[in-house]
Symmetry: none
Subunit: 185 residues, 4 copies
DNA sequence: TATGAATGAGTCTTCATTCAT
DNA sequence: GATGAATGAAGACTCATTCAT
């Protein structure tokens, strides 16, 4: 059992357990009991540390957002590393797609944002972040188009067993990054 | 109350109520009670007509799939009408995006497929359908890339109040439809 | 489906189905639906022919009593055939015990009688019948003692996979049949 | 209401209520509601303390088994007290038969064992126990025959208002206890 | 006469939340 | 501060019985 004398640790353990539970079974499957069991914490602790189950859910989503932040930082650095070239981005993203847990976690933010308007900022975090990163190498419009496409790719990947074809990714990114406002006819 | 002695009508009413309920609050919020109330049907009717809540949910998803089918048929015709030109497709799709209920319904298929592998065929229906339609005017790869991008656009639209910019849509579609395998370096 | 134009046949089919259902799952597992399904009769028929489920249950128990009657007649004849000798009775009874469905059916009468006083006559039918048969070859007291013992044997058999040992049966019957009032000290 | 904050007491109260309910109306009549009402406990408590109704039923049957154990211990001592003489056993058993609640409780084990093979050990407990006790004063075969007969007597008593005749009991026990393997012809 | 649609009462069960300790 | 006992509301589901047709 998580130590009684480490409030912060317990809190983290519960949030992490909530995230895992939501990834595994969806947001609505979250219950105090399951979190307590998974976090190896007494049942009472879940309500002692969080005012309500919704609070706990929100904390879990917040944790996912923070993880997304971290990923975006890494992604930004890696994109710099390959000088923003489409082939490089395609390779980086292919690697990103291989961690399905991560994708599922992100998709939780979408679910949440769709049914609770106040959670939309969480859901938009990823697209906005990617758009910003790509703007260093393409027009704002091209960057956004690419980010939106990549979101579609994530969706597609979550609904297929096979990984997304890297060549297709490269092709699409190349096409989209190269566009610019003047292309608008 | 839905007229008694009209089994088919009652069934339809309940399925429709289930769809509405899921659109409003997500698949997991579906309960017999809410469906009964929305369909103006006694509680017992929901279990009399459907062996289980899962059955009812499945019927609702099936209904959405059928609606998607209908939309794909219309879309196919409209795309033919504009000769598959990107500007035309962008215009058509902008119109499509304006019906948020429809988008939310479709997104239900995605989320359902994410947590229940057996429902994946439902979830892939739309992308596969769009890809097939676009193949008449672009390489298979370009068609799929465009379809995946459009899925991303749907997601983006659902998470924003403002409608998706049609010019951006046109730009991206133009870029993606024009790609072909030989572009792959 | 049992013919619509044979009311008596339908009735019999439902009663028989009820008996089978009760033998298989106990009296309390009886439902209109299961009877209708087993008897291949529309659901409505079960309430059309029987005022209530309890009525149907009673009819089923009555049918078992009638079967017991038939068995008692056979038993009486067979006992006459072996002149009431204990070895003969033991052999006959061993054969009787081999049909577990029959035993389970009889035990239903016991259950029923235990919880519904008005059904006690049904439950006592078997012991009284056997007692009467044996009285031709032993004192009333010996006959009753033997019948009670045989009831214990039925119980024992239903609770064991292995058949009851015929030698033990012969020994006990011999001992009990030979007793007489004057043995009472 | 059973005092809160006395888990063991509440548990016992519910088990006892379940036993009473089953004695009164049979195993299959057991419901959470009736137990809660009889034990003067809120409905939720019944499922908080027992994972399922079957669990509660099992606990009740277990409690009956324990009571049977206690009775067997007493019976063993009393039988020793009368030196295993048939008249003594008959007298003891007559007293035993006078407590109908006890008989009904024991019969629950029989009926349970009949429909659920995994509960057979419970059902056989009494016969095996009595057989073992009597073996100190008779051959194993005679002991078993007597025990089986006594089971029949219990059944008979439960199905009759009048108590079982002690003289008949004495006669039968005398006859059965005196038998021995060599009597088998 | 016969049937299957219909429903409301009642079953088991889960769980967020409260609160005594 | 911490916990686990406690409970009431709500959920899925079953089914005897009623009744329109």
């Amino acid at each position: 059992m998580t130590s009684r004398r480490d409030p912060e640790g317990r809190r983290r353990a519960m949030v992490e357990a909530a995230v895992q539970e939501m990834i595994a079974n969806g947001s609505s499957a979250l219950t105090h009991r399951r979190v307590a069991e998974r976090a190896r914490v007494p049942l009472g602790a879940t309500t002692y540390y969080f005012d309500s189950l919704d609070d706990l859910r929100a904390a879990a989503l917040q944790a996912i957002v923070e993880q997304v932040d971290e990923e975006l930082r890494e992604f930004a650095e890696d994109v710099r590393g390959c000088d923003g070239r489409p082939e490089g981005i395609a390779a980086l993203f292919t690697a990103y797609l291989s961690d399905r847990e991560r994708l599922r976690a992100e998709s939780l933010l979408y679910f949440a944002g769709m049914h609770k308007p106040e959670l939309r900022p969480f859901a938009q975090h990823w697209v906005l972040g990617v758009t910003e990163i790509l703007q260093a190498y393409a027009s704002p419009e091209a960057a956004q188009a690419t980010a939106v496409y990549l979101d579609g790719v994530i969706l597609h990947t979550l609904l297929n067993d096979r990984p997304f074809d890297e060549a297709a990714l490269r092709m699409a990114i190349t096409a989209l990054m190269g566009t610019s406002p003047k292309d608008r006819t």
